[in-house]
Subunit: 361 residues, 2 copies
């Protein structure tokens, strides 16, 4: 099967080979040294300010979304939550569950957050803002420079879910005034799913250390304390963390974040050029689209998006990525992060062409 | 390195080979079918009553300890918590964090829970009880038939942490009147660390569905609902779940739980016979010891247990398992779950003999 979903994505050969290795005991100085290197390289690739730290969470991206909401905010905060799709909606639900004081900026699926809309919240006493870098359900990429500028002026703590955007799209915590950002192992890092990572500046750490959360598993103060010696409070997905180390070191050697961003942009462009003449409409404005995924709407009347996913899976051995909820019938997505070659993209395009010939799209 | 810790432990060849495979997209009927089989086989191996279910949690064993405490109990419960070591202590902390009404039965390290002690809590209105099957920090195995009998008479909801005990020691939810029990991927199942599993009877499920927990990641009602279609609410460690499936099927073919329990007992006995003449004292009464681990105290004055761990790691390429806290200097452990051969045990015994000759133990 060729995998064009947005996670888990195809892993590199180097990562796969390590999957065969026995997993070492980890309460050792040897593993601590690897974890300290993981922390330093993640901080570097997020362009995080000096003295930033990383919390290594065994859990999905949602675990780190919830952990951040619990550790960075208190009921004294007044939070802006951007909801432009399934993952923005999840932040709304998390703020509700944890009884935080928040305002939802609800956007249509695929609708960018404009400066005009954001400025209506200027000088209203907001102390926090949470949003995705890329809303994975539509591929919408938010204008994070604009958001960061707003947060700086308003002294808002900015928490960014970059789970699927990291490496595919530019993120700089320094330039974008981001206090904390998360990513997951199974997205553009192309590791097995199991871990998510939160990079935190000094302010984010201060909040973790002063907030008392009603949870042991999400007590970031404990993670930060254990992290000082390169450890986690509980047994992490050790194998994934070793694969992370190999991947981060390899990235560092091969041109770092700039090279990763460029490769992702080139691959997205290659795919989007190839499908120009196919009966699909880009769901999201190309000027506001992430490099990680392309959301497409079939233009031919009566064509069901989820059915296309099923046919391609069952008849061609390829996974594209179905949408959920009220987009399920109208939109599907093609992810192009991870170890995807142009030959594989060509193959998918041939499948689309074949479906056109078969009158199925 | 040879790994005699209690997790992550050495994986089987079959499991390791699967570590190289690309990880499939999982929101498919194909993956759902595998998950339903995982659920059925885990229920079978825990000897769970009919209509039992499994919650598949991406996280360490502690995640499922906390998830259980949050989902099974409310402040209306009156809970007995057995604290005989680091992991019993963790249950105490979890009950404190979640502001539950509980009584701690504090035992010395390695001290069994006796019938006399337990009976002092009889007919006192307790509605719940939580404890380990095996307290991994000392290897103490609780008398679960006695505990189950007490819980049945007192109508106590019984929640058992069998993270390290499952497969090594007998557990039968039916016979022992256990309502919910957990295990972890990196213990006797010998998979990569990343997942923990909670097997629940009908009463446990009822509690999950009626309790409203203040968490998205630990909302077991959502896991049970998604589990009906063989899915999890959030991206799980898909690779580990596929390895779990292969392992459970292989166990089923090779004699099931009885064969696993016997192999663990034989291996524990083999190791314990081999070290009879070495300068160690069994930390825990052999009649109350788990088959998963042997806790040892060096008998020669001045010998530091943690130092032995370091020497064996650095000079012989073998990990034994150090203890933490106030046992660190006096006790070390040898785990013998996972893919450990008698040749490897012989090699460790030779190392101990060499250390005796070198006058280090």
């Amino acid at each position: 099967m060729i995998n064009f979903t947005v996670g888990p994505v195809q892993m590199d050969e180097e990562t796969r080979k390590m999957g065969m290795d026995q997993i070492p005991y980890f309460r050792t100085p040897e593993f601590s040294a690897i974890m300290k290197e993981n922390e330093n390289l993640l901080c570097k690739f997020f362009d995080a300010p000096q003295d930033s730290r990383v919390v290594f969470m065994t859990g999905s991206g949602t675990a780190s979304m919830e952990g951040g909401i619990m550790n960075f905010f208190t009921p004294a905060d007044k939070i802006l939550v951007v909801n432009g799709g399934s993952f923005g909606e999840r932040f709304v639900q998390l703020c509700e569950i944890h009884e935080l004081n928040f305002t939802e900026i609800k956007l249509e699926h695929g609708e960018p957050l404009t400066r005009d809309k954001l400025e209506t919240y200027n000088n209203q006493g907001y102390t926090g803002m949470v949003l995705q870098l890329c809303e994975t359900s539509t591929g919408l990429l938010y204008d994070m420079n604009m958001v960061g500028d707003f947060c700086k002026r308003n002294n808002c703590f900015l928490f960014v879910d970059a789970v699927s955007g990291f490496l595919a799209d530019k993120i700089s915590m320094k330039e974008m005034h981001i206090n904390a950002a998360i990513t997951g192992s199974q997205k553009a890092l192309a590791l097995p799913p199991s871990m998510s990572f939160t990079v935190m500046d000094a302010e984010a750490q201060k909040r973790c250390l002063s907030n008392k959360v009603k949870s042991m598993y999400f007590d970031y103060a404990d993670y930060l304390k254990n992290g000082e010696r390169g450890q986690t409070p509980f047994t992490p997905a050790v194998g994934t963390l070793l694969q992370l180390n190999e991947k981060l070191r390899r990235m560092e050697k091969n041109g770092g974040i700039a090279a990763m961003n460029k490769a992702a942009a080139d691959r997205a462009q290659y795919f989007r050029n190839k499908i120009k003449n196919l009966p699909f409409k880009l769901f999201t404005d190309p000027n506001s689209t992430s490099n990680c995924v392309t959301a497409l709407t079939p233009t031919k009347p009566g064509v069901n998006a989820h059915k296309i996913f099923e046919i391609i899976k069952d008849e061609y051995g390829i996974w594209i990525c179905p949408n959920g909820g009220d987009m399920a019938d109208k939109v599907f997505r093609v992810g192009h992060i991870g170890s995807i070659t142009t030959e594989e993209i060509d193959k998918l395009v041939q499948v689309f062409e074949d479906l056109t010939k078969r009158n199925l799209i």
